[in-house]
């Protein structure tokens, strides 16, 4: 195990001896619709701008009406582009982190949310990976479900890119962690026996 103090190094709540093995964000498909809506509204605003400034339209319509139309379009577009960018930032902040002790779902947004949902590796009963559908297969993303401890609670992580890699990484981390715990327990038992003999 690591001897460097990693407290709160990569995420809030990180333990002193916890090392991040890998992390990932959700697949880009989750923000694709926002990007698409951004392109559509940009095209729409260019269209409205060209209509309101066209000489024929300006000659036949009152300037006040055109200004009101333009202002409402500007208000809508300003709100929309801020919304899209904040969604992209939120996409970057939300991460699934695999450490040498647990799997952490860090649900962080720019303004209103900071949730941490972690599953200890020794608590994990089973891990499953699913990648169903043509889009998921082509774009290589899917779900990873962790079955937790005695209560058999399911925790599903959606839209994970390259799920096969992360599935293997979780299993590998779990194996190494259980091996380390077994050695720790063995070491402690030997230590206790040694003390008894003394």
């Amino acid at each position: 195990m690591n001897t460097v103090d990693n407290t709160n190094r990569n995420f809030k709540g990180q333990q002193p001896q916890e090392v991040v093995l890998c992390f990932c964000r959700k697949h880009w498909i989750v923000i694709f619709y926002y990007m698409l809506s951004f392109i559509v509204t940009t095209a729409l605003i260019i269209f409205i701008f060209s209509i309101t400034t066209a000489p024929g339209v300006r000659a036949s319509t009152s300037p006040r009406v055109l200004q009101v139309v333009a202002l409402f379009s500007i208000i809508f577009y300003t709100w929309h582009f801020h919304y899209v960018f904040v969604k992209i930032f939120n996409y970057f902040l939300r991460t699934l982190i695999i450490t040498n002790m647990r799997v952490v779902d860090l649900d962080k947004t720019l303004f209103f949310r900071h949730n941490l949902d972690s599953t200890d590796l020794h608590e994990m009963k089973d891990v499953t990976m699913s990648q169903e559908g043509i889009l998921k297969t082509i774009l290589n993303y899917g779900e990873i479900t962790v079955i937790r401890g005695n209560e058999l609670v399911l925790k599903t992580h959606y839209c994970i890119p390259n799920p096969n890699y992360h599935f293997r990484k979780i299993n590998q981390a779990k194996r190494e962690y259980l091996l380390w715990r077994t050695r720790q327990k063995g070491g402690l038992r030997e230590e206790a026996l040694g003390q008894q003999q003394e």
């Binding site: 990569n10 309101t52 333009a70 801020h82 930032f89 970057f92 390259n162």
Partner: protein, 76 residues
């Protein structure tokens, strides 16, 4: 100055302040908690968060200028 102009100026002041505040919040967080990025973690494999942040600020300014030019044009 008309009511429309007051609303317009207010909107863009709020818009720019919001952009600056959002970026300040973002950088405050990512400076404190760092991750080693790789091509597997960036958007589309190559788009870095800093690029998006820079694009956001530039876009907010460009949008303010563009919409002001339109508004002035309609006012003439």
């Amino acid at each position: 100055m008309t009511t429309l102009w007051i609303i317009f100026i207010f909107l863009h002041v709020v818009s720019l302040l919001f952009a600056i505040f959002a970026l300040w919040r973002l950088y405050e967080y990512i400076k404190r908690y760092r991750f080693d990025e790789s091509k597997y973690t960036m958007l589309f494999g190559f788009v870095h968060l800093h690029w998006i942040a820079a694009a956001y600020l530039v876009y907010a300014v460009i949008w303010t200028v563009a919409s002001t030019i339109l508004f002035i044009t309609l006012n003439q």
